[in-house]
Symmetry: C2
Subunit: 446 residues, 2 copies
């Protein structure tokens, strides 16, 4: 959603009966109003509605932060209380150019970080520019010489391979122009997928590429936006590694920020500030928020080397499916993807890597048509082992690829990337089995 869309959303809204009633009461979106119905009075801010809404409900943002939909029935009274206030960014301090500091590029893609809730409308405004940033976290000017770029303003559920390509190209350009570390601000919903995508797309990185988001917007007391962004900038500026990582709160306190490898990280909670976890391994490192001291906890890191020449392979095959198997799974879906000319399927199987017998024939047909079929586990933690039970052995014998302990989200992104690099299925299988960006832990299958 770009800024224009946000503004449109803020003024658009009611139709039919609801529009008429609001007009009659002379109230606009963002106003503080009272709605009295059945003897009860509800006080709050008038919210806009989506285009799919009916024309009989009015949405109030209550003082406790919740939204309430009130149906306009006979006798419902709407009253104006006061005008709402638009959020404003204060003027940024002017950072002195400090030539001794490393150059860090902050590229914003949207999301909650560095955005503010417009309390008139409840809309979150992703509005990150260099000036906003300094205003938001003035400490950044002591860590690095910042160059900020707005690439997009998307909620991350809308981000996909097209954006991954743009991000990879933008990072590459920044590196070519002398950037010594990259920060991507990103919505948290799909940040793990994007971090995995860029882990494969950006080859021979000279320096860190750090993804950062926030679970609470910057104008809430418990926001993690400023601390995460400060830590991410410090990692980009001085970390000794050249990896794609995610930097987010280690716990619910503000002590440490965890550094997760982009291919091993997963959002494991809907709302906690420490939602991001490294699966099946310890994080790559952590940064102490008191003094921005950085500790690396993984000896397998690729070291930073500013003289290394990066390149971009950001071609992702879009005809790849990620399928979670479950009881009563409809196996016809496998044929459907085959008929849609899909080139690969990653299963989230059960346990050690299983699907039921009803899937065997469709999987065999998919493999016979040249699809690449890989197996991961919906358990999330632990290694696939398809040699223990007959189901696994049968699937292996057909040609299903066991994907070790790669998490399903990374396996999916990797298969898209691999099939974007080659049409040779044997080569693709070889690439899938090779540890290219830390996507397998050291506890790898035989």
């Amino acid at each position: 959603m770009n800024k224009g869309d946000i503004l449109a959303a803020a003024t658009s809204g009611y139709k039919g009966k609801a529009a008429k009633e609001l007009q009659r009461a002379a109230v606009s979106i963002g106003d503080n109003i009272t709605i009295t119905k059945g003897g009860k009075a509800y006080e709050g801010t008038l919210f806009p509605r989506s285009e799919y809404a009916d024309d009989t409900h009015v949405i109030l943002k209550l003082k406790n932060g919740y939204n309430l939909g009130i149906e306009l029935t006979e006798g419902t009274v709407i009253e104006f209380l006061s005008k709402g206030k638009k959020p404003e960014f204060v003027s940024p301090p002017h950072p002195k150019e400090k030539p001794e500091l490393p150059r860090v590029s902050i590229i914003s893609t949207g999301g909650t970080i560095a955005s503010r809730v417009d309390y008139r409308t409840g809309a979150v405004q992703p509005a990150l520019t260099a000036e906003d940033l300094y205003c938001f976290v003035p400490e950044l000017s002591n860590i690095a010489r910042i160059k900020a770029t707005v690439l997009s303003s998307e909620f991350s559920e809308n981000i996909g391979p097209k954006h991954w390509r743009e991000m990879a190209d933008t990072a590459f350009k920044e590196l070519k122009n002398g950037s010594e570390g990259i920060v991507f601000s990103h919505g948290t919903d799909t940040m793990g997928y994007t971090a995995a995508a860029l882990s494969f797309a950006l080859r021979d990185l000279p320096c860190p590429v750090v993804f950062v988001g926030s679970q609470r917007s910057s104008d809430r007391p418990s926001s993690d936006a400023a601390s995460n962004l400060m830590a991410a900038t410090a990692i980009a500026a001085k970390a000794p590694f050249a990896e794609v990582v995610v930097a987010m709160h280690e716990t619910n306190s503000d002590e440490y920020i965890s550094i997760h490898r982009g291919t091993r990280v997963r959002k494991c909670h809907t709302s906690r500030r420490d939602a991001f976890k490294t699966v099946d391994s310890k994080p790559l490192g952590r940064i102490d928020l008191k003094n921005l001291d950085l500790n690396v906890l993984d000896e397998t890191i690729r070291l930073r080397d500013q003289s290394r020449a990066p390149h971009v392979n950001a071609n992702f095959e879009e005809k790849v499916a990620l399928l979670k198997f479950h009881p009563n799974f409809n196996p016809e879906i496998i044929d459907w993807f085959k008929e849609k000319k899909y080139r690969g399927i990653v299963f989230e199987g059960t346990g050690l890597g299983h699907v039921n017998r009803a899937c065997f024939e469709p999987i065999k047909r998919a493999l016979d048509s040249g699809l690449l079929v890989g197996m991961t586990s919906q358990c999330i933690w632990g290694m696939i082992d398809m040699n223990v039970y007959e189901t696994g052995r049968d699937l292996l014998a057909m040609g299903v690829m066991p994907l070790g302990d790669m998490i399903s989200e990374t396996a999916y992104v990797k298969m898209m990337w691999v099939l974007g690099q080659t049409t040779d299925i044997v080569k693709a299988k070889g690439m899938m089995a090779t540890n290219m960006a830390g996507e397998f832990t050291q506890r790898r299958p035989l």
Copy 2:
């Protein structure tokens, strides 16, 4: 897979070139053999192959427990070493009838528990009868008067709504016949789904129904089969609650067995003995393996009452889909399910309950056709909240149901059950939003 199938698998196998070479060397499946190739000798047990296998590889189970496929090329030599040994159950001790002990029914459905690996073939034989059980865990006769029933011998990835119905009916019959506690032995892969299904299907339970499995088969030193089964039997015999639960190791040590509510439990590791976790809450209780003391940790339990008359509502609508949303998700799949006359879809959205804009129109079409569409989160932990961002609000406005902190697997099973009880969409929505079997934690949405 029934026993006949297992035996067939154990003797079936090689074809073409591989069959000829094995015949020439006069070796059979299960024999210990040596294969020499390129100067290297591989010693192990000859494994059977699946019907999908090629005819040039021979599979050895090596002494380290791994299986190795060796391609038969020019100069490969196969030699017989010795005959393998079939596993045998020793004769069971005769348990004395102890009328003071409660009557517990153990109903086996298959899986690793109470099965043995046939080292001749590597096949796991699910072979649980009353006699096998006493032989396997003689302590059971001190806990309860056991009646054991073999319902099926399935790896749990093959279990679905048909089996759920059979299980519910069997449990009901056992209760009618005076059982004071039920144990289901079950493969671990889909045990969480089945426990959720029976949580809804068995109404007004008088006593506990305990699901139990094992992560390692009973003939391995680290097996959890005996301890889990003993704990499950003790829970069925004496727990003060009347709930459907899962009993599995609390940690990797043999100290405690956790008791998880059937609607809140998830297999979160492919191989660890403590793979099962209660999501977003503490377990319902735990049992101390030293003395089988049982502690209940949740005050919301429904109490045991042998006079309560249970009944079965085991009708599950099979036309329900569980879809994990991800970047590059193909929204056409939503229309496909609509065209297949599906009645419900549960999404595993991102974060607080989101999918991308490309899904909006297909979801709207599905809703317009009368499908029930619910939202859960792939984060697994934490509550859905679709009021925070515009994406969530738009989906809510369309009519997508937010499913609180119900885990996606339970939400899927519940929607199948709800749509199996009613064709009235308003009633179905009401049932989905009602806490019927502890599927919502106490931290529920407004």
